[in-house]
Amino acid sequence: MSDLKSGSNLEKVLKAGHFAFTGECGPPMGCNVEHLKEKMQFLKGNVDAVNVTDNQTAVARMASIAASAIMIQEGLEPNFQMVCRDSNRLGMTSNILGAYALGVRNMLCLSGDHQKFGNHPQAKNVYDIDSMQLIALVKKMRDEGKFMNDEDIDENPKMFIGAACNPFADPYEFRVHRLANKVNSGADFIQTQCIYNMDKFRDFMKKAVDMGLTEKCYILAGVTPMKSAPMANYMAKRVPGIEVPEDLIKRLKGVEKKDQAEEGIKFALEQVEEFKEMEGIAGVHMMAIEWEHRMPEISERAGVLPRPVV
């Protein structure tokens, strides 16, 4: 297995050709470790790796690196998220080394939501480097054993490098090129933004396949089950870069309120089934936001259990 880049479980699952299934777990807005561990237990055995978000939506939470380390103690594999909003190249570099030292083997390199959306809108943002440069930084540290400044690292952090891709942001024609740029910068795997507009995503994937991108990296399709029609409405209108087709909102509204969550899960499961067959898709990233307790059922019904042991 010496040709593995990091040796992470996620990398091994993908490399072995299995359909990967990843989850997500948001660290607490406080130090409630017990609750965090409870949430993690719902994911254990039901996914290959779990994204540990980094102050998502610019809301201050327990550090991603700390929650990732706790996750490892709990016997799960984290996908350590890092945003460019909150620290400069020094802070990022030291956290990459620190995360690796704590056993982290996957990381997801992100720009980060603007702080305007969060609970500290008064904050100064950093953006010393952007997500493309962060990908290149982690790759350089791993493959060349060098810091950004070209000085040698005495032991390389061997990370499986992830990046995000939002096919639904504008301008649409450019999105596949930006994906190519991330792949060329060093992304080993991609997790997409939540997909609801399947027509557009099919077109996007066709372009990615035609450009040969799916031969160079693994693409995991992002799925977030809708919990209700109001949630779908909110995401359609308020969340930048997310496209929710009117048909889906109608479908959720078409059932009684108490059944809307089930309808949302059904739609998500239909998506998973299609992704299993879609050319170029290597897995699904299931972002059941604050719905960790539903993950055992979702994984079961998605037909992805048991998770492969590699």
Binding site: D130, S131, Q133, A164, A169, N181
Partner: protein
């Protein structure tokens, strides 16, 4: 030019609440051009402050002077004889003004009448927009005249991020996504390949991150 906004009246009133004799110093530079700190705006502020004070039943004398520039000691010198005669002096220049005045006349108390905002220009009558972040290493030509450092909310070098929607930035429907414009321009020109490279991280030493900056023209030092 440097674009500024006048501070809220209440803030200025509070600055001079214990003062009965005040000087307003306008500037004929950038702040005159952006209609916030020139002769006319000095007159308006003086009148407003006097009316407000009168309502409180107290007296306030305000004198006005507008000089060529407050970022040049040569013109700062011109208020030398009078500046010490007041309880307070309000500078209506950018942030350079109250500092140059304070440095020249350390005995006097100077207050900023403006909030200095950005380097920009007028996009229509009455509307100014930011165009430059003063980063010290200009790369505008690489982006066809559109600066991502100053105009992208995240100053990213490889945009647009996932928050770009219908040409607008994720932070507000009032803010354009400059990366949307950069991409469209490159596409129109058939130069998309310009955007398919990973640029090295920017060296921010030339920006404010390298510490307070100084520009020296050797040829002028020996004149």
């Amino acid at each position: 030019m440097i674009v500024a906004n006048r501070k809220p009246l209440e803030e200025i009133q509070d600055m001079i609440k214990d003062c009965g004799n005040v000087l307003l110093v306008g500037c004929k530079g950038c702040v005159t051009v952006c209609n916030v700190g020139g002769k006319k705006e000095v007159e308006i502020l003086a009148a407003t402050l006097k009316i407000a004070r009168k309502k409180e039943g107290k007296a306030l004398n305000i004198d006005e002077v507008t000089i060529e520039r407050q970022c040049d000691p040569e013109y700062i010198e011109l208020v030398k004889e009078t500046v010490g005669n007041y309880d307070a002096v309000i500078s209506m220049a950018c942030g350079v003004g109250p500092q140059f005045l304070s440095e020249a006349y350390p005995e006097q108390k100077f207050y900023p009448g403006l909030d200095t905002e950005f380097f920009g220009g007028a996009v229509q009558h009455g509307v100014w927009e930011e165009r430059c972040a003063g980063c010290g290493t200009c790369v505008i030509h690489k982006y066809d005249g559109l600066c991502p450092i100053a105009r992208c909310s995240k100053s990213i070098m490889h945009g647009p991020c996932g928050g770009s929607a219908q040409g607008m930035c994720e932070i507000s429907s009032e803010v354009i996504c400059i990366w949307d414009q950069i991409v469209k321009k490159k596409m129109e020109q058939g130069k998309l390949e310009d955007l398919l490279i990973t640029n090295n991280a920017k060296d921010w030493r030339s920006a404010r991150d390298g510490g307070p900056r100084r520009a020296i023209r050797e040829e002028l030092l020996n004149e």
